[in-house]
């Protein structure tokens, strides 16, 4: 049994009138993901690489049970996101740099709140909170309202709070998006640490260097389709010079060509 399996995932959105106006399109529907399949393993980082609008966030949201696949299914430790979503939620964390924390609360309060939602007992919670807050240097700001934290500190708090339950699967949409170099570094280091701890990590990004720096496997997604999905080294090897950027551009061009033919 694979640790995480995305099986023939399809997702279509109905476009709202407002959205059609903004995107200047007459389409009523948008097929965001067109039959995606890949697997991810514990102790590895899987990177979904793709341009804007490729369907990365949609895929990650499906994995995180926030939205439901139209077709196909996703199995996490053999549990279906469609049929056993509550069970799946116990063992996953969904993060994004856009994830907001309620400004009104302190890191301390939020850590307690999410721990309780995950059914973690007070003693374990206290222990983890001390550990995590020290790990991210939040301890000094634990009683400061989120509104008054620096954006780097907010991101670290968000990371600590999303992982209160120490899940085996970490799903992170655009982990370094909009972060300053130092915070981005902290986040990446932490994810690498989590990999060593045996977690299965899936990230999405449109930044090639992020993939090269941390991913063990990579899937290139363009227009809702997965063009390749393999070990990083094997994907790189698709170009004669082993250049990921070349592979990526080649695939983008190819699919644009497909599109022109169609």
């Amino acid at each position: 049994m694979t640790d995480l399996e995305v099986r023939d995932l399809r997702k279509t959105f109905r476009l709202s009138r407002k959205q059609r106006r903004i995107e200047r399109t007459d389409e009523k529907k948008r097929i965001a993901v067109k039959g995606l399949s890949f697997t991810a393993r514990r102790g590895e980082i899987y990177g979904l690489l793709g341009p804007n609008g490729a369907g990365k966030t949609t895929t990650l949201r499906c994995i995180s049970t926030l939205i439901r696949p139209d077709e196909g299914d996703i199995f996490i430790d053999g549990k279906s996101v469609l049929k056993e979503s509550i069970e799946v939620r116990k063992n996953i964390a969904f993060l994004t740099t856009e994830l907001k924390l309620d400004d009104f609360f302190t890191p301390n309060y939020l850590f307690g709140y999410f721990s309780r939602l995950h059914g973690i007992d007070e003693k374990t919670m206290e222990k983890r909170r001390t550990e995590q807050f020290e790990r991210f240097g939040i301890d000094k700001f634990a009683e400061v309202k989120v509104a008054d934290l620096s954006s780097g500190m907010k991101q670290k708090t968000s990371l600590a709070i999303s992982l209160v339950h120490d899940p085996d699967f970490i799903i992170f949409d655009e982990p370094t998006n909009g972060l300053d170099v130092l915070t981005a570094r902290t986040v990446i280091d932490y994810l690498l640490e989590m990999r060593e701890a045996g977690k299965a990590i899936i990230i999405s990004t449109h930044i090639l260097s992020v993939v090269e720096k941390m991913c063990d496997r990579v899937g290139i997604i363009i227009d809702g389709e997965l063009k390749v999905s393999d070990e990083l080294a094997k994907v790189k090897a698709l170009d004669e010079n082993g250049d990921l950027e070349e592979v990526f551009f080649h695939l983008v061009e190819e699919s644009a060509g497909d599109f022109a033919h169609a």
Partner: protein, 394 residues
């Protein structure tokens, strides 16, 4: 179920530790009602009571002695010296230099005594828009009426002519019923308005706020049943709305003495017994949960707090109109079917309880109907929290 309490506690904490919210939701309603009603009460009272030592200034021409006597007995006044033209009179009344001008015909008294076929005239000038002028006029009219009666009495030979009938009026309403009517008119309307206002300041922030801030995803990704989210949000908002309405009540109760002094019937809440209070309590609870449920559904649908508030407005107006109509409606509607109607049913029932005019059947119909509505609301809300199109609409 446990997570419902976790969410419940967090929502309470959120509101109760926010000084700004505590001020606007729990202190301002009571305080502003107290201040406004006290001011209204004080003003109304001032309207009816004039300073005792006020000296009314009257300009008079050819006042008969009989009238002067009567004036001396009824009011504190002084005649203005000098001769004024009609224009002067009008100007001086407008300028409040004089309160009243009375011009009697030169040979007034002689013509009365002679029973002249051509009765003598009296012209009175005053300004109804000015309080002391209007009150001077009222008193002067009373003096003239008494004078009029005394003349008629003198002219009639037989006293029986003067008393063609004897009128006895009895106000048969007892104080308890009067107080009850006062409460039935005032409270249900205020209750509905304050419950709604309280719920409107809590509900949208708790649900639409989470969507707007983008914190809803963090909640939805935890292993929390959607039903627990719906219940946690609804119960916490309901409790907070009740507290907010309670603040308004304290304001009403504290300002009642001031407000009611004007007509001297001071309603006393102690006319009601335990059964009424219990009934009121249950009606309040189901009404507030109903309102909060409705507001929560709208908030779950809206993308922002502002949108939610806007969408709630029409419902607020409808509820307000129902409340006001109930205040002026003559009778408590005893038709059991009417008690099924949302908002109107409980308000009508509340009036009935306050008037001691209700049946237990209708009471239970009202409570049961609202419990069903609330269950439906929670079910819908539960579905909405589970619906990505609602939670992550673009």
């Amino acid at each position: 179920m446990r997570n419902m309490f976790v969410i419940f506690r967090k929502e309470l904490y959120r509101v109760l530790t926010d000084k700004r919210l505590v001020l606007t939701v729990f202190i301002l309603p009571g305080l502003s009602i107290f201040v406004i009603y006290t001011i209204i009460g004080t003003l109304v009272q001032a309207q009816f009571t004039e300073p005792e030592d006020y000296e009314t200034k009257i300009y008079a021409e050819n006042v008969p002695d009989a009238i002067v006597h009567r004036l001396d007995e009824t009011m504190n006044y002084r005649f203005i010296e000098g001769e004024l033209t009609r224009d002067d009179i009008e100007e001086q009344i407008m300028d409040e230099k004089i309160d009243l001008a009375v011009i009697f015909a030169e040979d007034f008294e002689e013509r009365i005594i002679d029973k002249s076929p051509n009765p003598p005239g009296v012209t009175v000038f005053y300004n109804q828009g000015n309080q002391s002028s209007a009150s001077a006029h009222t008193r002067f009219s009373a003096v003239m009426n008494a004078y009029h009666e005394s003349i008629i009495k003198e002219r009639l030979d037989d006293p029986a002519d003067y008393h063609p009938y004897i009128l006895a009026t009895e106000n048969i309403i007892d104080e308890r019923t009067m107080a009850a009517q006062g409460f039935a008119m005032l409270l249900p309307m205020l209750i509905i308005i304050f419950l709604f206002a309280g719920a409107m300041s809590i509900g949208p922030d708790a649900i639409a706020g989470e969507k707007e801030r983008g914190t809803i995803a963090s909640l939805l990704v935890t292993p929390t049943k959607r039903r627990d989210i719906a219940l946690g949000k609804v119960t916490s908002s309901a409790l907070l709305s009740l507290l907010s309405a309670l603040s308004a009540f304290i304001g009403i109760i504290l300002s009642l003495p001031r407000l009611m002094m004007a007509d001297e019937t001071m309603p006393d809440i102690s006319i009601y017994g335990a059964q009424e209070f219990l009934a009121i309590f249950f009606l309040l609870v189901v009404t507030v949960i109903f309102i909060v449920g409705l507001i929560s559904i709208i908030s779950a649908y809206a993308k922002t707090i502002k949108e939610a508030s806007m969408l709630i407005m029409p419902f607020y107006f409808i509820a307000m109109i129902i409340g006001i109509m109930n205040s002026f409606g003559a009778e408590v509607n005893q038709n059991p079917l009417v008690h099924l109607v949302p908002i109107y049913g409980p308000i009508n029932m509340l009036s009935g309880v306050l008037l001691f005019d209700y049946s237990l059947t209708n009471f239970f119909v009202t409570i049961a109907a609202n419990i069903v509505y609330i269950a439906v609301f929670v079910f819908i809300l539960n579905k909405m929290f589970d619906n990505e199109k609602v939670m992550f609409a673009r």
